[in-house]
């Protein structure tokens, strides 16, 4: 296995040398590079482990930082409503900037590397997460607030015990959208000089099997992280509020799938 890896490694470097005496079908397939070499991919899946972990690291760090910052912004603007348009505007402009441009704009400031990629990706997640926290908090029914006040809660208690728990579905919805898009956008982190699946694709840009494998891993990562967040929410919110935004097909089953598939993709 190790010997096979050693002979095959240079081939997958794209422009690198081809093996002169192909000894099996998989090697032939990679040398010809006319289609996706499933056999080779299965045998050599270990070479994609490091890029996948780098990719995952970038995504998790960006979403965690993004959530922390957006959460702080949302709490800050919760009782100071006049801050909301400003925060929405700033995060909106950041979101409009193409990621590849943002990566390159940061290069002279923060240099090439994972840090630059994470900063840019973090800035990217702010808009979606911030907007969803704000929406979630403002969708809290007035009756729930009144009930909390009636029980003698302070503003702080009201926020942490009533408003935030009731806003969890919207907040998690924002996290899911941010996570899924970050997994996809992180493929462009190569332009910030970071690694990950994008670097793997870019460095072997003509290698068909590599492109398909990396693309498939990225999509799978998005699906798995999305599902994990969904399950986390399901555990967190057992009392689930009924707030259907769109009248859906009847039946529990369809409802479950609708929630699993995720929040409806409209931006306000």
């Amino acid at each position: 296995m190790l010997v096979a890896l050693a002979t095959l490694a240079p081939i997958a470097q794209g422009s690198g040398g081809f093996v002169r005496e192909p000894d099996d079908a998989a090697t032939n397939c990679v040398a010809e590079n006319t289609t996706v070499c499933v056999g080779w991919a299965i045998d050599n899946i270990d070479r994609y482990v490091t890029p996948t972990l780098q990719h995952l690291e970038m995504v998790v760090l960006s979403v965690v930082f993004g959530f922390a910052i957006a959460f702080a912004m949302a709490l800050l603007s919760h009782r100071r409503r006049w801050l909301v348009p400003g925060f929405t505007g700033v995060t909106g402009v950041l979101y409009t900037l193409p990621s590849i441009a943002l990566f390159s704009l940061l290069l002279p400031v923060t240099g090439r590397g994972t840090a630059t990629a994470v900063i840019a990706l973090t800035l990217y997640t702010l808009q979606i997460i911030y907007r969803n926290i704000v929406t979630g908090l403002s969708n809290v029914p007035g009756e729930a607030r009144d009930a909390g006040r009636g029980m003698g809660m302070t503003d702080r208690q009201l926020l942490w015990r009533v408003e935030l728990p009731l806003a969890v579905p919207e907040i998690v919805a924002g996290l899911r959208i941010a996570t899924v898009s970050t997994v996809a956008i992180a493929t462009l982190a190569i332009f910030a000089g970071a690694g990950g699946l994008g670097a793997e694709i870019y460095n072997n840009i003509t290698f068909k099997t590599g492109i398909v494998v990396c693309g498939a891993i990225a999509i799978a990562m998005a699906i798995v992280l999305d599902a994990l967040l969904f399950l986390a929410q399901a555990r967190l919110v057992r009392w689930r509020r009924q707030t259907p935004t769109v009248a859906g097909p009847p039946g529990r089953f369809a409802g479950f799938f609708r929630r699993l598939l995720g929040p409806i993709g409209a931006r306000p």
């Binding site: 441009a101 943002l102 699946l197 990225a218 769109v246 097909p249 409806i264």
Partner: protein, 243 residues
């Protein structure tokens, strides 16, 4: 942390200079940069983006409107919208180059794939959110189904639909930046071919792409304002005022 402020300023000044005046390429020989080349590449990027957006609109809008009007296919509309976000841009472009070939056609297909999900999903959601009473009233006035869509549902859904179109346009313009990977020389050429244009070229490319995206966003916001029915805009202002 202290930022190397002087060098950052130098970089940006150099990038501005790159945009306005030509210089010798890093490898020597040819002249690069300058307004003429900038305009050429930007025109190319606008051209492929507009083409891709038009195709995406032509395909996704009718389907979204139809499904929304019928009230069926919610799972499909939502699934497409969410799946669209998971498509890794670089993998998509590289896939097109490797399996279909170089040129405007594969790039347009790739960009169209990115544009369809937000347009379709938002068209569906926008139509579904139209007040059912308004639709019933329209039917009561004797409108045909097509008239209901065209004269009632579509105008009322403009804000949501246009939001989807804006998202799609921004995604398309942004991703058109890596067009050079499929052989279409857009502004991304400055960013990708650092060996030709140098670091200042990369930064210039980034500035230009960012400005282009902001311009597209502003332009479409203007279009949205024009398309939104006056009554709807007034009603929104009124609710904002009382909120």
């Amino acid at each position: 942390m202290t930022l190397p402020l002087a060098s950052v300023v130098d970089s940006f000044t150099g990038a501005i200079d790159f945009i306005f005046s030509t210089r010798e390429a890093v490898g020597g020989g040819v002249q690069v940069g300058g307004l003429e080349q900038v305009w050429d590449l930007m025109a190319k990027q606008i051209e492929v983006s507009a083409l891709a957006l038009a195709v995406a609109l032509a395909l996704a809008l009718p389907i979204g409107l139809y499904l929304g009007h019928r009230g069926t296919g919610e799972l499909l509309a939502v699934a497409i919208g969410n799946a669209g976000r998971a498509i890794p841009e670089l993998a998509l472009i590289a896939f097109m180059a490797a399996f279909i070939g170089l040129g405007v056609f594969p790039l347009t297909i790739a960009l169209m794939v990115l544009g369809i999900p937000p347009i379709l999903t938002n068209a569906f959601v926008g139509i579904r959110q139209v007040d059912r009473d308004a639709v019933e009233a329209a039917r009561g006035m004797g409108m045909t189904e097509l008239e209901v869509i065209r004269r009632v549902e579509l105008p009322l859904a403009v804000p949501t639909i246009m939001t989807g179109v804006r998202t799609a346009a921004i995604n398309i313009v942004a991703t058109a930046t890596i067009g050079p990977l499929v052989g279409v020389v857009t502004l991304g050429d400055f960013i990708i071919n650092v060996n030709v244009y140098g670091d200042e070229g990369v930064l210039a490319g980034a500035i230009l792409v960012a400005l282009l995206a902001l311009a597209v966003e502003l332009l479409l916001a203007g279009v949205q304002r024009l398309l939104t029915p006056r009554g709807l805009a007034l009603q929104r202002e009124a609710t904002r005022a009382t909120a």
